[in-house]
Symmetry: C5
């Protein structure tokens, strides 16, 4: 799993039906990159979360039919202990 | 999922039958790289899209028999908020 | 499989039910990065471990229903031979 | 999917039976790296191809029992438009 | 698939049962990194091999129940043609 910080919600046109109705969120990686995750738990911008990838991401989204390869799966409480600016 | 910008359509010889008839598009990554995605939604060059990888990519292409490991799954409306030249 | 060093235990709010009750641990990569793994074997901070990713990670967690894409699967005894500061 | 250029054919000892009889080819990545792909379409050194990874790679090889995580799936006709020395 | 050079055998405590009895070997990547692979073919330190990842890795290990995401699948005979110090 990976640690990400929640960014903006993404709005789409030409959205595939099997994406369902869960919000898609911009995710900032620790290395400075950008990914997109499905968010079944209701996070807000700035939250530090952990995400599950690949086949388990579909189950994490709550329904194996949903199309997701990266799903937000929990908000990290003790992120101050882990996201340490000293070792970034 | 990842954010990509649509490039050229790719034309192939010796194409495998199970690739189906959907167009294959060059995808530019935020980090400056290049990938190839199957495009079931009809994008045009320059569109900012999000893509689904791996096993979910086949369902996203509309038919589990189609051979795809990366499928274009939506056009991003608010890309100006997300693709920010300041933090690239 | 990858080699990781165990860091802090991660505490979560809004935890998905199918994560089960196994601890989630911060994992330090050899390249200086950070990941998160499910820990079914009871490691402690500083242990050098090897981890299994993707679909095998769910079986490694002991139950295919558990949501994991990275599972701690063994403590490396001879890490001094392998984690050599000279070639890092 | 990824874009690769075909390199040398790889010859193996201690080859696993389930690799079948398709040739294995060295693949040069756009970023300067090296991978290995199964080649069911008969490419020659120097061809620019696109490759399919992971679970779809096995179907692309023509038989789900074949062991492949990366399969050459088409020769790119218009590679001059896409592999542009200016943006490498 | 990837090309790796065999390093040390890894010895484990707290080994999961479903890892079976095949040796686990340190693998050196062409880029200077380190991974771990299951070795069903009996390689020795210094051999250049190719490895299969993800779901096919379990079949390559000889038994779908074995936990492996990276399995050594053949020794490369003509590595001198491919591992060229000039382009590393």
């Amino acid at each position: 799993m990976q640690i990400h910080q929640i960014g903006r919600q993404i709005t789409l046109t030409s959205r595939l039906d099997d994406l369902g109705h869960l919000p898609l969120k911009e995710l900032k990686t620790l290395g400075g990159g950008t990914a997109v995750g499905m968010d079944p738990i209701g996070t807000k911008e700035g939250d530090w979360v952990f995400t599950i990838a690949n086949s388990a991401a579909r189950d994490a989204a709550g329904d194996k039919r949903l199309l997701s390869d990266l799903t937000v799966s929990g908000i990290i409480d003790n992120w101050q202990d882990i996201i340490n600016p000293d070792d970034k």
